[in-house]
């Protein structure tokens, strides 16, 4: 589904991604790493917000490198950018509608989609007429994910979805992501620092440090890996 090979990216003269390769099929994959490791840059390369200098990015066997972000999104990739979230003055329902408004195929089926969204996030149905700004932090995060799901994505990309959430909400968030993956069968790519919780939701994971992939393994193997246990789980 998503195939990244030998990706190199720069910010000016600064080399930020070094020969990064990543494969993602119909599964949930995590990308872990400290701040500044290159997780967000990698996501931005996938969705066309950063143009890499070398390598390839393919989705469903089509290159994404010469496409604009809106074209990539319309091809079936939904992204929840880090800390760039809602339209605060719009209601929750309007925020959800905005998620499908410019994806032609999704817009036609938005009503059925809303029913699905409300079955996963019932609280959003109760608060659908409230402005997004008055929702709690956890509800706002649910709304951002729900808005991305309104586009009927084949691949959902989340950039640090647990940032700023209290531990119980983080647990709940990853449970719901697992639930979405099971019910929808979509692929999910999560860039995350909360490795402990994220490992419960993913099938495989990559560790990126200083712009290089340093480790890749299944969730179970990552959880048992000494380096991961010491550096990311504090065990």
């Amino acid at each position: 589904m998503l195939s990244i090979k030998n990706l190199d990216a720069f910010y000016g003269k600064l080399h930020v991604l070094w020969d990064v390769s990543l494969e993602l099929g119909n599964e949930c994959v995590g990308i872990f790493g400290p701040n500044g490791a290159g997780k967000t840059t990698l996501i931005n390369c996938i969705v066309g917000l950063v143009k890499p200098q070398g390598g390839t990015v393919e989705f469903d066997n089509k290159t994404l490198l010469n496409q604009e972000t809106f074209q990539i999104i319309r091809s079936g990739i939904a992204v929840v950018p880090q800390e760039r979230e809602l339209f605060p003055l719009m209601t929750a329902a309007e925020n959800l509608e905005a998620g499908s408004a410019y994806i032609p195929a999704a817009h036609a089926k938005r009503k059925e989609r809303l029913e699905f969204i409300f079955s996963i996030f019932p609280v959003l149905k109760l608060k659908s007429s409230l402005p997004a700004a008055v929702l709690s932090g956890g509800e706002q995060r649910m709304l951002t994910i729900a808005r991305a799901l309104m586009a009927y994505p084949k691949l959902l990309i989340l950039d640090e979805p647990s940032t700023g959430l209290q531990p119980s909400l983080t647990t709940d968030l990853f449970l719901r992501l697992k639930q979405i993956r099971q019910s929808e069968g979509i692929s999910i790519l999560i860039a995350e620092q909360n490795v402990r919780q994220c490992l419960k939701a993913i099938d495989r994971g990559y560790v990126i440090e200083n712009g290089k992939i340093v480790l890749q393994a299944t969730a179970a193997n990552l959880a048992d890996n000494d380096y991961i246990r010491k550096s990311y789980l504090g065990l």
Binding site: I73, R74, A78, H107, R147
Partner: protein, 306 residues
């Protein structure tokens, strides 16, 4: 829509449409001038809702006026067709400018639009006199509808209605999501599948066409154009002030601002023919300082407290 709201809108529409039957020439003239500025203010605001600040109203107003007048002089066809032609020309020129400049944002785009009006004025002034009349401009043989104030009023009222309807379409339809998200956060907009450049060009062309339409109507009403008058910065700044006074990012803010500032300007002109602009300026400064959300913002605050 609630029934009472539809009723109020219908009543206002009927009252405005029937105004020529029970008011005099002076009042009608004053009102249709205010309506023209109202259309300019709303159209300026429509682009602002997408986060793009334009100082180029005068340029498109002038282009619309010149295109309509030149077609009138060269072909002597129905002035209404000339007005339509003026609007289309303003739209086409804005399409070319938009394609070239709408990758710019914020102050860079604003400066381009400011320069645009001046560049148009210089070009028109320096074209052969047989085309544009040079510095003296062009005087038509007759004003539209032979100067009949009632018909002129209905023409301007029609233009205002078109502008209000388009503005409400911008606010109430799916376009609203594109406009709001482009203004709020372009990354989120792109991540929602929105083609930002395309939408900015579409919005710029629509608002410019409206400004050209008003400019074309204005010249057909007054029967003359000249570069200094029709490209005057006055046509850029006054609608902007009206929108700020009434409250930006809505249809009704600029409407209220145009009524208040238009009537105040008319009264002050009678009171002090040459000094009214100072009072005007003071009103604008005070409003910006003490009512940053304009009159609409104040109304919202007061009604929310209740």
């Amino acid at each position: 829509m609630k029934i009472w709201k539809a009723f109020v809108i219908a009543a206002l529409f009927l009252a405005a449409a029937s105004l020529p039957f029970y008011t005099g020439t002076y009042l009608l003239h004053t009102i249709y001038i205010i309506m023209m500025y109202m259309s300019l203010a709303i159209s300026w605001d429509m682009l602002l809702r997408a986060g793009q600040l334009s100082f180029g109203i005068a340029g498109l107003f002038g282009i619309g006026g010149y295109a309509a007048t030149m077609l009138q002089v060269f072909t002597n066809i129905n002035p209404l067709i000339c007005i339509l032609f003026g609007a289309i020309m303003a739209g086409l020129i804005s399409l070319l400018i938009g394609l070239a400049t709408l990758r710019l944002r914020g102050i860079y785009f604003a400066i381009i639009t400011l320069a645009m009006a001046e560049i148009f004025r210089v070009i028109i002034r320096n074209l052969p006199d047989t085309w544009t009349g040079g510095a003296m401009g062009i005087v038509l043989n007759n004003a539209i509808f032979n100067g009949d104030v009632k018909q002129t009023y209905w023409l301007v009222f029609g233009i205002l209605l078109i502008t209000i309807v388009l503005s409400e379409v911008f606010n109430k339809s799916r376009i609203h999501f594109a406009i709001t998200s482009i203004r709020n956060d372009e990354i989120v907009a792109m991540s929602s599948g929105i083609d930002i450049f395309k939408w900015l060009v579409v919005i710029f062309v629509i608002t410019s066409t409206l400004q050209g339409l008003v400019g074309a109507a204005y010249t057909e009403i007054y029967g003359s154009v000249n570069p200094d008058a029709n490209f005057s910065v006055h046509y850029s700044l006054l609608p902007l002030a009206m929108a700020l006074l009434g409250g930006i990012r809505s249809t009704w803010g600029p409407v209220i601002g145009a009524i208040v500032l238009g009537l105040a300007g008319e009264y002050l002109k009678l009171l002090m023919p040459y000094g009214y602009l100072i009072i005007y300026g003071l009103i604008i400064i005070l409003v910006i300082l003490f009512l940053p959300d304009g009159i609409m913002g104040l109304i919202k605050k007061l009604t929310q407290k209740k």
